[in-house]
Each structure stands twice: as C-alpha cells, then as structure tokens.
C-alpha cells in the first residue's frame, strides 16, 4: 500500500471516528425507534455504521454532514425494516425465544419511564411519520428534514403535524 493510500485510510478512519462521536447517540436512538428487540437494534446500528463507512469517502460536502448521515441512516433503516418484513427474520421461533427473554416488560433496560413510553409510541407510528418525528426530535430543521427525506418542506410540516397528533393520542392513552 502506498503512503498516499495509507494516509487516506487514516484520514477516513479519523473522519469516521469524529462522525461516531457526533452522531453516535442519535443513531442509537434512531435504531431504537425502528427496532424493539435489543439484538435487532444492534443489527440495524451495525448496518447503518457499515453503510456510513462505505459512503463516507464519497462525501464531498455538497450537503451538511448531518444531512448526509441521517439520509443514509434512514434509508438503511427502511431497507432493514422491509427486509425484515419480507424475510420474517425475527419470526424465527428460536430467535424469538431469546429475544423475548431479553426484551420482555421487565427485561427491556430502559431506565426512564417517559422515554420508554415515548419510544414505544414512536415505534408504533407509520414509517413516513416516524421518520419526520425522529428527525424533528433530533432538532433537525424542516429544510434539513426535507433534504434528507427528499420531500418538500410543506410536506414535512404536514407529516410532522400528523405525527404530533398521533403521538399525543398514543401517549395520552398510555398515561
């Protein structure tokens, strides 16, 4: 390997590390909003991180790093959910047996009750509303959400409004 290639790899690793430092918690929350089972969340997070690792060298700064990361993460999460629905991966009885143990009402290690209720309610939102809501909760602007999801800002506002109403309804029902 030439010196230039090695430098590039080191540079890429540094960028990746910085990206993880900045967006790691957001990506973990995103995985939480899509997957209930701990192992499935871990899988989704790994898939997102791998996709980011592959895509990072192509990032030229045309959009903000935040937009870039969330776009990839949401696209990967969608693929993950579609694939799960198609293959029924977590319907494997053996996996479920273990997953149930790990993620039962007492097993889920969510320490904060409000967060637990919120996460549960967000997981139950339809995909299109869930995407908008999770991005909004990460303090992403309407313009950025529009860019990430490839929809208009008006559409973002409409979806967010629907998501809020639905979330309010779900949380109201749980209290």
């Amino acid at each position: 390997m030439s010196q230039t290639e090695q430098d590039k790899k080191i540079e890429l690793a540094k960028r990746y590390e910085a990206l993880w430092q900045e967006f790691g918690p957001s990506l973990q929350r995103l995985a939480f909003s899509y997957e209930f089972l701990p192992q499935a969340r871990e899988d989704l997070l790994q898939e997102i991180l791998l996709a980011l690792w592959i895509a990072l060298p192509r990032f030229r700064g045309e959009s903000s790093l935040r937009t870039f990361v969330f776009r990839i993460a949401h696209n990967r999460a969608l693929t993950h959910v579609w694939r799960r629905k198609r293959t029924g991966i977590h319907e494997d009885p053996e996996s479920l047996q273990l997953a149930d143990k790990r993620a039962g009402p007492e097993g889920t290690a969510i320490h904060n009750a409000t967060q637990e209720r919120l996460l549960q309610a967000i997981r139950e939102l339809p995909l299109s509303l869930k995407q908008v809501m999770t991005l909004a909760l990460e303090e992403t602007s309407h313009a950025e959400i529009a860019e990430i999801l490839g929809i208009s800002e008006n559409n973002v506002a409409v979806r967010l409004n629907r998501a809020r109403n639905l979330l309010r309804e779900k949380l109201g029902g749980r209290q």
């Binding site: 192992q39 871990e42 790990r102 993620a103 290690a109």
Partner: protein, 193 residues
C-alpha cells in the same frame, strides 16, 4: 401545554442516553462468525482422518490376512463409523445461523458450545472403550509371547501419550465451551436486569 412546550418535553425525553443492548452481543456475534471457518476445517480434518483409518485398516488387514487382523479392522471400522456419524449428527444445522441477526448468532454460539460438550462426552466414552479394548488385547498378545517386550512397551507408551493428549484436549474444550455458555447466559442476564 402548547405545542412548542410539548415538543421540547418530548425532545428531552428522546435525547436521554439510550441503553446498550448488552456489552457482549456484538462480540458474541463476531466470535460465532469467526467460528465458521475453523468448524469447517475441523470437520474436514475429522472426515479425512476417518477415511484414512477406514482405508488404512482395510489395506493393513488385507496385507496381514489373518483372523485377528480382520477382527481388528472390523473394530476400527465400527468405531470410526460411529464417531463420524456422531460428528455429522452433532454439528448438523450448526454451520450457519438460521437468522443473520445478533440473536441468531448468540443462539448459534451457545448451541455450538453445547455441541462441543456433547462431543467431549462422546470422546471420553470412546477413549475409555478403546482403552478397554486395546490394553487387554495387547497385554494378552504379550502374555502369549506374540509380541516382543520392546514393542509392547512402545505401544503402551504411545497409548499413554495419546491418552494424555486426548484428556488435556477434552478438559480444555470442556472449559472453553462452559465459558462460552456462561458468556451468552451472562449477556442474556444483563438484558433481563
């Protein structure tokens, strides 16, 4: 509560550090993936050894061509076939995870450790059986003066050495398998608490 306050409250709840799914989940999955290559290699080695034993004993007994050698060949064949059949049965469906998920790999990792424990038990039984057959056989040959003292001594030494190697290997495999089971169970317990 107005909608801005509501959103602020949700954001605060949302941005609490999410809990991890357990420290060892990813590690166990990676270990299970890495195991695949060595398992295949071990299985191929076992099968190659079995074929060598079958063919070798057949050739040897046909060269010697007497009743004792024929009996010896039959014994080698029976034990080799039994060991190979057990190995195939024991490792079936454990080559790959049924679901390519962390849960699937954790189950697979635990199932492989259990298969190793079964293999160790079977190995102990086979070793004891072989010693019960071989030691009296060779000793009888020696007492009947059909085997020179030096050859008998060498055979016994070789047998003792092989037994020592097998005992150490079984003990090590058992300890490792128990550690693997403990790792998975510990990870499950971590998520339950």
């Amino acid at each position: 509560m107005n909608s801005d306050q509501e959103m602020k409250q949700w954001r605060e709840a949302w941005q609490i550090e999410p809990p991890s799914s357990g420290p060892a989940s990813a590690e166990i999955r990676n270990k299970a993936i890495r195991q695949e290559k060595s398992l295949r290699f071990k299985f191929i080695l076992e099968m190659a050894l079995a074929v060598t034993l079958l063919v070798g004993s057949a050739i040897y007994s046909s060269v010697k061509h007497n009743a004792e050698m024929l009996l010896w060949m039959v014994l080698v064949w029976l034990l080799t076939i039994a060991a190979s059949a057990f190995s195939i049965w024991n490792w079936q469906a454990l080559w790959r995870a049924s679901a390519q998920s962390v849960a699937g790999y954790m189950l697979l990792y635990r199932a492989r450790a259990e298969a190793t424990l079964r293999a160790v038990k079977f190995g102990w039984a086979l070793l004891v059986l072989q010693l019960f057959i071989v030691v009296p056989w060779l000793t009888y040959d020696r007492l009947q003066h059909r085997m020179p003292q030096i050859r008998y001594g060498f055979a016994m030494l070789l047998l003792a050495l092989l037994t020592f190697v097998y005992v150490r290997m079984f003990l090590r495999q058992r300890r490792k398998a128990l550690e693997e089971i403990q790792l998975v169970d510990g990870e499950v317990a971590h998520c339950e608490n």
